[in-house]
């Protein structure tokens, strides 16, 4: 290749400075990805590979393992509630926090704070708040004459309780939406107001298109997060009651570290990865019509 001395020097220096990540990539990404793909075709206790089973693990989980079906169902159930609800809550908060009110920065702080509380601590706090007998939520409901459900002890409510708890952290996404709302040029609204546009039309035809790239980013990250929901279920319910919060990654974790079925768990991890990727691709494809990038001709 015809590289000048300068280009060669840049290449060497560039690679040298990037070396930490390249080494990290080989050791902590490339090798583990390849190894886990290989493990997924084996019976692997964590110490010994006791057999090569081809697609056996995948066939087992898709056709026979009822707990797997349950865990997949639980995660999809959680995801289909938590992602839309999380989006709506965060966007509504962001629009409220965008109002021109003198002390609005106080409200922004209040709404944002729960977002920085560690998930494990939040799980304990909510386990206590949602305690069926003595939790604050049911005590307050009782004061207004409502007999609250057994939030985390009733299989019909347990998943919803975790969805609800996740909304406590909506302030983080709300701040990102808020930043993008503030980037929408005022002049667009002024023109619309001169034309007598209603608040809804301004929202629908100016706000939503202008922040749509941020929405798409939020939805994709939220989907990836929801596919991997783990900590609240591990701490609050340990997958129960009646396996109603046995989420995909919790069941995967148990297969790997409690049941010594690391080959099976690796197959689960790969299926999860594929599911997450396919979902993302579908979202990206269907969103292409709705997402508007500034400077792009329509």
């Amino acid at each position: 290749m015809g590289m000048t001395r300068q280009e060669k020097r840049a290449l060497v220096m560039g690679l040298a400075f990037a070396a930490p990540w390249i080494i990290g990539f080989v050791l902590f990404v490339a090798y583990p990805v390849a190894a886990s793909l290989y493990y997924s075709f084996t019976e692997f206790t964590g110490l010994d590979i006791t057999g090569f089973v081809g697609f056996g693990n995948y066939i087992e989980m898709l056709t026979r393992d009822e707990l797997f079906h349950k865990s997949l169902y639980n995660t999809l159930y959680y995801l289909s509630l938590a992602v839309p609800l999380g989006f709506i809550v965060a966007l509504c908060l962001a629009m409220l926090l965008n109002l021109k009110i003198r002390e609005v920065s106080i409200y922004r702080t209040c709404v944002y704070i729960p977002n920085i509380i560690p998930a494990f601590a939040a799980s304990f706090v909510w386990l206590w708040l949602l305690n069926p007998e003595y939790g604050l939520v049911n005590l307050v409901l009782e004061q207004v004459g409502i007999w609250g459900p057994g939030w985390v002890s009733d299989p019909r409510w347990s998943k919803f309780s975790i969805v609800l708890m996740a909304q406590w952290g909506a302030g983080g996404s709300a701040m990102i939406f808020l930043a993008s709302l503030q980037d929408v040029p005022r002049s667009l609204y002024e023109v619309a107001e001169l034309d007598g546009a209603s608040a809804w039309r301004k929202f629908r035809y100016i706000t939503l298109p202008m922040i749509s790239p941020v929405i798409l980013f939020h939805v994709i990250m939220a989907l990836f997060g929801a596919f991997q929901v783990f900590t609240p279920a591990y701490i609050m319910t340990a997958g129960g009651p009646a396996n109603s919060t046995l989420f995909y990654v919790l069941y995967l974790y148990r297969n790997a570290f409690n049941y010594g079925k690391m080959g099976y768990a690796s197959a689960m991890a790969w299926l999860l990865f594929i599911l997450a990727l396919v979902t993302t691709l579908i979202v990206m494809k269907t969103s292409a019509r709705f997402v508007y990038y500034q400077g792009e001709e329509r």
Binding site: M3, A10, L11, M13, G14, L15, F17, A18, P20, W21, G24, F25, F28, V29, Y31, P32, V33, Y39, L96, L97, L99, K100, I101, I106, Y107, C110, V111, I113, P114, I116, I117, P118, A119, A121, A122, F124, V125, W126, W128, L129, E133, Y134, L136, L139, W168, I176, S180, F217, F224, Q228, I235, L252, A256, M262, S266, A269, W270, L272, F273, A276
Partner: protein, 292 residues
């Protein structure tokens, strides 16, 4: 006379718009106050419970401000588990990963932003795409490998990867370095400065705000990490606070006032940090939100 009618109509419209604005402001304020209360109540209840005596914890109607304050809950909570040891472990991991990621991610970010080498854009895409890899995919081989190296039950699996760069921080740094004018480094290069010299003497000093954001995020990341310590730390001498907190709970009994006291102690440093570093937080949100 013909001009006054539209003029009056315009004024009426302005007046009605102003009235509408005031109405939105009042309504918005009410909703925002309600929201703020809802978002803060869990924290208030955690703190309130932490100061209660055992018999007040389950009282009906709920007691908001216990009297007298059961300060001894904190003493009991800290003594009931090796709390200070777990605090020390957590802080060791926090500090080491902050140092590690600041060194490694800045180097890689510099390479991507400031050294014009062929292939750097491809590398950037590769780095970004690894962010989409779910942890469970690499979790098992990593555990097996760390096991073979004898690293299980040590902090090494949690610390050493930080010294090899983290995609998210690399990206943040690359974006920030791109905003630093190239003339500065070009001039230094002509004067015969080495890349390391340009990096250390010109770029890094200009990057203090973004370095602060990364240190803050990494502290929170390590302080809040649950799955990592859960997988790698098995002996109760090695636990971090995230894992140790579960020890207040036996199979069918929870001492809520102690668990809430310990939770308060875990959350408090973060809240203090938040109030002191609020500007850094806001900068961080802006960087991650807009450029992410």
């Amino acid at each position: 006379m013909a001009q006054t009618a539209p003029e009056a109509r315009r004024r009426a419209r302005v007046r009605s718009m102003r009235r509408k604005e005031i109405r939105t402001q009042i309504l918005g304020r009410v909703v925002l106050i309600a929201m703020s209360v809802i978002f803060l109540v869990p924290i208030a209840w955690m703190i309130s419970t932490s100061f209660k005596e055992a018999h007040q914890v389950m009282a009906y109607p709920p007691i908001w401000i216990p009297w007298p304050f059961a300060w001894e809950n904190y003493e009991t909570a800290v003594k009931a588990i090796p709390f200070l040891l777990y605090l020390r472990n957590t802080l060791i991991i926090c500090a080491s990963t902050i140092i590690g990621t600041l060194i490694s991610s800045t180097l890689v970010g510099y390479s991507l932003a400031k050294i014009p080498w062929r292939g750097r854009n491809a590398l950037l895409i590769l780095i970004l795409s690894t962010m989409m890899l779910p942890f469970p995919v690499t979790m098992i081989p990593l555990f097996v490998t760390f096991g073979k190296l004898g690293w299980i039950n040590t902090f090494k699996p949690l610390i050493i990867p930080a010294f090899l760069g983290s995609p998210f921080y690399i990206f943040l740094l690359r974006q920030f370095f791109m905003t630093i004018p190239g003339e500065l480094s070009d001039a230094a290069r002509i004067d015969g400065a080495s890349e390391l010299g340009i990096f250390g003497r010109i770029i890094l000093p200009l990057s203090r705000p973004v370095l602060a954001v990364i240190a803050l995020f990494q502290f929170l990341g390590a302080w809040n990490d649950f799955l990592g310590p859960l997988i790698y730390l098995h002996s109760d001498k090695k636990y971090t606070l995230a894992i140790g907190l579960q020890m207040y709970r036996t199979t069918n009994y929870v001492q809520w006032e102690l668990l809430m006291a310990a939770s308060t102690l875990v959350v408090l440093p973060i809240l203090i940090l938040f109030f002191f570093a609020q500007r850094t937080f806001i900068e961080g949100i802006a960087i991650t939100g807009i450029k992410g």
